[in-house]
């Protein structure tokens, strides 16, 4: 991460949410997005779960001394993630009884997402607490926004509904409801974002 003194708040927001977007640029936790986020509701539950697990795991992980060997640290991160998972699962299952069933294995797998395992050590935990928290929150918000938009568009084009409310569309692409369609759609999303970033870079140059 760059020196916070040199960066304005808007560039911090832009870098954390857009330029280093967790899903579309870094490719973090894309499997749950592809499989689970096929409707707006499922996407919202995924975003909520990811936010809670990642935020608290990273927050607690920041207290782990950096002197420890990387291998040991990663094991501790995962252990913390597992500890955070238990209350999160209880809360989510009480709020949305069907959610755990829908998400299947991808729910517990969120504790081993590459954001916690790799990016935390290289980008976040080396920073000061305040800056780390800001980056973490913005990163999570960036993830949530993409997941929500992705779930919304996927639900509209594949089922012709928004959160269960029918909207009349002339053509429905049912394939996008399936995981392989999700892969293609996420690829299109990533390509569009990268295209926009390139365009911004060109214009600013």
């Amino acid at each position: 991460m760059n020196n916070p003194k040199k960066e304005s708040l808007s560039s911090v927001i832009y870098n954390s949410m857009v330029r280093n977007n967790l899903v579309l640029v870094l490719g973090t936790a894309i499997a749950p997005v592809i499989v689970v986020a096929n409707t707006l509701k499922n996407a919202a539950i995924l975003a909520l779960t990811f936010s809670v697990i990642t935020f608290f795991t990273m927050l607690l992980s920041s207290f782990i001394p950096q002197k420890l060997v990387y291998t040991v640290r990663v094991i501790i991160y995962i252990a913390i993630g597992a500890l955070v998972y238990v209350p999160t699962a209880i809360i989510i299952s009480s709020l949305f009884p069907q959610a755990l069933q829908n998400m299947g294995i991808y729910f517990p797998l969120l504790i081993t997402n590459s954001f916690i395992i790799f990016h935390s050590d290289t980008a976040f935990l080396t920073e000061k607490k305040g800056r780390m928290m800001l980056d973490l929150i913005l990163g999570i918000i960036g993830y949530d926004i993409v997941v929500l938009i992705f779930g919304l568009i996927r639900e509209i084009i594949s089922t012709g509904e928004i959160n269960g409310n029918v909207i009349t569309l002339p053509i429905l692409f049912k394939a996008f409801y399936q995981p392989f369609g999700g892969f293609i759609l996420l690829g299109i999303f990533a390509a569009v974002l990268r295209g926009i970033l390139l365009l911004i870079k060109k214009v600013s140059n």
């Binding site: 002339p170 053509i171 429905l172 692409f173 049912k174 394939a175 399936q178 369609g181 293609i184 690829g187 390509a191």
Partner: protein, 334 residues
Amino acid sequence: MERINSKSDILISADMLIALLIPAVIAVYYYGIRAAMIIVVSVAVCLLTDVICYKLRGRVRVKAEISTVVTGLTIALMMSASVPFYAVVTTDLFAIIICKHAFGGRGNEIFNGAAVAFLFSSICFPTEMLNYPRPAVHLSLSSEELLNTSLFQSMSKSVILSNDAASSSIIDLLVGKFCGPMGTGFIILFIITAAFLMLRRSISAISFCSQFAVIVIGTLIYCGSDIKYTLSVLCGGMTIFGMIFLSCDYRTMPKTRSSRLILGLITGVLTLIFRFYAGAENPIIYAVIIAAPFGIELDRKMLSFAKIISNAKKKRTVTAEKTKETDESGLNNE
């Protein structure tokens, strides 16, 4: 990906185009103006999309690149004659944008675009794509009149459901006069086409023959030597058409002969598995898509294997020469 022989892409595509034009004419004869319109729309959309994609990517498009026309025509012939035009357009867009240009354009395709796009559209629009009018029923362009046309499941699907040979006569099977995609059932024509393309070296003879042998032998074993059932399997489900225009596609065909043979065998076996154990209506499509990555890997393995063998041979020759020289110098000293 490398092309299968020294012929240029354009010549191979031209051969394919000629081979596809004949079933296109027959499809128009069977289904009338609507079939012609589907073909025109499909080819036009493919060409237009290709030109736009090249522009967006900032690359120059070779004017004589007719592989796009081949893709458009292949897609059109795989369609039901009653298919709505939006399904045709979606399939074309998917084939050109996602399967061709997303992978880097001409020569870099991993999968056959027409096969993947057809599969995508048949999942998106199953009712429209997989229900067919009776052959020799001329369809109009008007969608209102089309609503009154009776649609049926394909002959391939009926054979799968009844587990018995098709109800059509053998002659009808041979000339493609049964419910199914509008240009994929004329088995006699396709056998001649395959021979022509093999002679012209535009498709891999090894791959085609190995697939054909595996499918025929496998079906004969499965159905207890029932000739009509075997014929139903070959004519229906785009089997022969898929073998020629999808499976032996030079763009995804491996370079070495041994790889092509193995790929043909794998595709044949996969087709049988999808046909008899998964009950897939168009098993060749799934087989082609799944076998494509094998082709790439097989090529790598076979080339490295050939390299190892040639190196070993070279080493052996050098050692033999050295031994001979030592022996000769020893004899001279003596």
